[in-house]
């Protein structure tokens, strides 16, 4: 929820004001800081038992100062005035040795705002109850599933951005997150591991009722005994939503973000307004959505983030550029330099999307090397099934795929009507043609 600027924990304000005062006193032209205080409560399950309750209290400070466009920055985890003064001096010394960079700067004055969401206090009893219920549900409905670990955590934190231009932004948020790793086992055989994470505000919800969770657990149970095939072929890959998040993260890093654009390696660097993907692709970065409690409304460089289209009907609309990246490249700063991935749903029911595949695979997880700057990627298709004549047939192992990120978006021939939501992302299944799929 957006509201007028207000910081509840006065220690944050005091630390931030001291940092900015010290930054000015030491002779810097400009400075900015993030100050935060967090309390994490975690309930952890591993090796067949609830093993640990963990509480982490943390204070964090990061600061940057500029003198004649020379930058120095430092981090610490103390609000102690003596430690803060030392940190400012450290950043000042670093700036003295740095070369000037005209692109450096800090966020311009804007409306000071605060955001808040969720509960401050963890409900440990409810967390325990939720974990207990998940284990009971899985034991009953998916008896072959074995969890390596499950972590349920409540993270409450307040963070404040302040700079010497007068910008003050804060965020106060408490969210629950459940993450895990699991596999299916039977008669001494084991499936590949898989995992899911989900972000939510109510720990009394039954996780195992989510269709995404049920699908993943069911697929693992059917992947205990896998098959390999020999040789290689060019075919269709149906990418599941969780796997698509992984692929889109590669797309963002290799084609859209600061690093790829500043270095000039992004093949899309001059493609704003051009068709870079199938017209079926509508890709957005979301800062605020009631269905995505994991989304972040503040950018790392001191701006309020907005929902922003990246690709609309296959046409590249925006990059993901920070203030610095924009200044370095001469391109506009993006309204969102992080955020949650949302891909618009398509017109094809999932069943039809799969039944249209003559020969290919349903890819549940991609385990691969970092793509090259051009977007070439290869890796193992994990938690995957063979598709033959429109039918999902055998669970597979030791199958590799090779392709190119840009080509995958260009060669997307169908997007499902159905989507899955992790609390961080909202994504459909996509079908991509022309991927090299190789067995043993």
């Amino acid at each position: 929820m957006k509201q007028a600027f207000e910081v509840k924990d006065k220690a944050l304000l005091e630390a931030a004001e001291l940092i900015l005062a010290e930054v000015k006193a030491i002779g810097a032209d400009e400075g900015e800081t993030w100050v935060s205080r967090n309390a994490l409560t975690e309930l952890y399950y591993e090796l067949g038992k609830v093993s640990m309750v963990r509480t982490v209290f943390s204070d964090k400070v990061s600061l940057k100062l500029l003198k004649d466009k020379r930058k120095g920055s430092t981090t610490l985890n103390s609000f102690n005035p003596g430690d803060i003064r030392l940190a400012v001096r450290e950043a000042w010394q670093a700036a003295q040795s740095a070369a000037p960079d005209e692109a450096e700067g800090i966020a311009e004055l804007q409306e000071n705002l605060s955001f808040c969401a969720g509960e401050e206090q963890p409900n440990l009893d409810a967390m325990y109850g939720q974990l207990d219920q998940l284990l009971k549900d899985v034991r009953q409905d998916f008896p072959k599933i074995s969890f390596d670990s499950i972590g349920i955590e409540h993270n409450f934190g307040e963070k404040l951005y302040a700079n010497t231009n007068g910008v003050r932004l804060s965020d106060r948020r408490g969210v629950y997150q459940l993450s895990n790793m699991f596999m299916a086992k039977e008669e001494g055989k084991t499936s590949s591991f898989n995992y899911f994470a989900t972000v939510y505000e109510n720990p009394s919800d039954r996780v195992c009722k989510e269709s995404r969770v049920r699908r993943l657990l069911d697929e693992s149970q059917r992947q205990i005994v896998t098959e390999q095939f020999e040789g290689s072929f060019e075919g269709d890959v149906v990418v599941t939503p969780g796997c698509l998040e992984n692929i889109l993260a590669f797309v963002a890093e290799n084609y859209l973000e600061d690093g790829a654009l500043i270095s000039g390696t992004s093949p899309w660097k001059d493609k704003i307004g051009a068709q870079v993907a199938s017209p079926l692709i509508n890709f957005e970065l979301i800062a605020e959505d009631p269905n995505l409690p994991g989304a972040s409304q503040l950018s790392g460089d001191g701006y309020v983030a907005e929902n922003m289209p990246l690709i609309e009907q296959g046409v590249l609309k925006n990059f993901i550029l920070s203030r610095y990246g924009a200044a370095r490249t001469g391109l506009p700063r993006s309204q969102n330099s992080g955020g949650s991935f949302v891909l618009g749903n398509g017109a094809t029911p999932l069943e039809e999307l799969i039944s249209g595949v003559k020969k290919g695979i349903l890819m549940g997880r991609f385990s691969g090397g970092s793509p090259s700057p051009a977007g070439d990627l290869s890796g193992v298709a994990k938690n995957s099934f063979l598709i033959e004549n429109g039918q999902v047939t055998k669970p597979l192992s030791e199958v590799m795929i090779s392709g190119n990120l840009a080509n995958m978006l260009r060669d997307t021939v169908a997007v499902s009507q159905e989507r899955e939501n992790s609390g961080y992302w909202l994504l459909p299944w996509i079908r991509v043609s022309g991927i090299t799929i190789s067995g043993k």
């Binding site: 090796l47 038992k49 640990m52 309750v53 963990r54 509480t55 982490v56 209290f57 943390s58 204070d59 990061s62 930058k71 120095g72 920055s73 430092t74 981090t75 610490l76 985890n77 010394q93 670093a94 003295q96 040795s97 740095a98 070369a99 960079d101 440990l124 325990y128 074995s146 390596d148 670990s149 972590g151 596999m183 001494g188 084991t190 590949s192 591991f193 290689s232 500043i262 270095s263 000039g264 390696t265 610095y324 370095r328 385990s367 691969g368 090397g369 970092s370 090259s372 700057p373 051009a374 070439d376 290869s378 890796g379 193992v380 030791e398 590799m400 090779s402 090299t436 190789s438 043993k440």
Partner: protein, 465 residues
């Protein structure tokens, strides 16, 4: 250097039940230049305190920042950990006895390496390397040079009388060069230098690294003119870096006792042939081949004195890596694999320095023995699975045709099932090299060392048809 405020706390309050009390400071520095512009110039300190208490087999953990001479603040962290253990014990009622007590000891390791390095020194080295690259290498699309320092200092007191104060420094320089191939597509080659040690000692000047830059650029140009690998099972010589990550990702994770207990392939294979008899694999605690290993661990974060852990001996799976709890369960001896990354992290079963032991073959003979295959020289990331299936990225390599190195190969990936691939190892080189630049992820990140000789195997390559 961390001040010892824990001694005063222990003298005043003592311990009530099984407790590990740890103060820790991670200091880091980072400098990055992208095409000559300084994009990162940062330093930081993460310092704090944690306590882990075990009651009836239930763990309570708590941590806080602001480690100092306020003994009441230390007591609050211990009290929160105790409350957490009490809460969980009341729910799970496991009724387990405390771990057997270690014999008390006091150790100090590596503290002499705590030599301050100025940010300006890192900036100077990076700037000089960047200038050299800009002047000497004309065909670059972009260049990135970055330096990173991570120094980890831990002070541990346990309720069974162990006191350990350790300091482990790590210093690396990374260079990423990018050019274009004939189609105008960017092609990248990445190299990392350094490892264990203080930055000043590790990198006394930039000039010593110029030769490595020249070689990196030469390889980049070869790669830009290179070809895609053929997909499928191929005869491949994995050079030391890749053998090291194979040891870590493909085998190491499957023989971590917690992973074994969950159902990894390492479980049913104990005592059985899992590799060619030419392969022996060990997780080194701190010293190998007469030198300090890249990530020396003398005492782990549960207070166990660290020893080497043999994992595979002449092809037979002979050991697992343990913490105190898993060792007790398996009836094995813990050898110091319980490690935590930050002060706010609990110890987990982690590798330290996994290494395939050297064989007797010469690398030249190994290459000559391949009629049609590949020599892969560099790796980037890797992942392993509960089934023993693994993959890692290969950003640099060469074809081998009729026993001779041929064209360079563009980015690819190799994968396989660890124990099946290792059974095909028919040649193992006589020289081990180490890498110490990456982080291993398993709930927490942590620095690890990886080492090995070159090995010749049959492995699945993710090339293009």
């Amino acid at each position: 250097m961390l001040q010892d405020y824990l001694q005063a706390y222990v003298n005043k309050y003592g311990f009530s039940g099984y407790t590990e009390l740890r103060a820790q400071q991670n200091r880091n520095r980072g400098v990055m230049m992208l095409n000559g512009s300084l994009t990162a110039n940062t330093s930081g300190t993460s310092r704090g305190l944690s306590a882990r208490v075990v009651k009836g087999g239930a763990y309570g953990f708590a941590s806080g920042t602001g480690y100092g001479d306020n003994l009441e603040a230390i007591a609050r962290v211990v009290q929160t950990a105790t409350s957490n253990a009490t809460f969980l014990d009341s729910r799970v009622q496991r009724g387990k006895p405390d771990f057997p007590a270690n014999a008390p000891f006091v150790r100090k390791d590596g503290l002499e390496h705590d030599l301050p390095v100025e940010q300006s020194y890192l900036l100077g080295i990076v700037d000089e390397l960047d200038s050299y690259i800009a002047e000497r290498f004309p065909r670059l699309l972009s260049r990135r040079v970055f330096a990173r320092v991570l120094d980890m200092e831990k002070l541990l007191y346990t309720s069974d009388g162990v006191v350990s104060h350790s300091y482990v420094p790590r210093s690396n320089i990374y260079v990423v060069l990018t050019t274009q191939d004939k189609d105008g597509q960017p092609v990248e080659h990445f190299k990392v230098m350094g490892g264990y040690g203080n930055f000043l000692n590790k990198f006394p000047n930039a000039q010593d690294l110029f030769g490595q830059l020249e070689k990196q650029y030469e390889q980049l140009i070869l790669k830009a003119e290179g070809v895609y690998a053929k997909p499928g099972i191929q005869t491949v010589i994995l050079d030391s870096d890749l053998a090291g990550i194979l040891a870590h990702e493909a085998v190491g994770h499957t023989v971590e006792a917690d992973f074994v207990e969950t159902g990894s392939v390492g479980g049913p294979m104990f005592g059985k042939q899992v590799a060619s008899e030419k392969v022996s694999l060990v997780d080194i605690a701190h010293t190998a081949f007469g030198k300090l290993a890249p990530v020396p661990v003398f005492v782990d974060d549960e207070g166990t004195l660290a020893q080497d852990q043999m994992l595979i001996e002449n092809g037979i799976l002979t050991g697992y890596m343990h913490n105190k709890e898993s060792a007790l369960k398996f009836g094995h001896t813990p050898n110091g694999n319980a490690r935590a990354y930050e002060f706010s992290d609990e110890p987990l079963i982690r590798m330290r320095n996994t290494c395939i032991l050297p064989g007797t073959d010469k690398l030249e003979d190994m290459i000559e023995s391949v009629e049609d295959g590949y020599f892969f020289t560099d790796m980037n990331n890797g992942q392993a699975d509960s089934t023993g299936e693994f993959m890692f990225g290969v950003p640099m390599g060469f074809e081998i045709k009729h026993g001779k190195l041929g064209r360079a190969v563009k980015d690819t990936t190799v994968s396989g099932v660890a124990f099946e691939v290792l059974k095909t190892a028919d040649m193992v080189s006589d020289t081990v090299t180490w890498t110490n630049s990456g982080m291993c992820g398993k709930k927490q990140m942590i620095p690890v060392g990886m080492g090995g000789p070159a090995i010749k195997v049959q492995i699945n390559v993710g090339g293009r048809a």
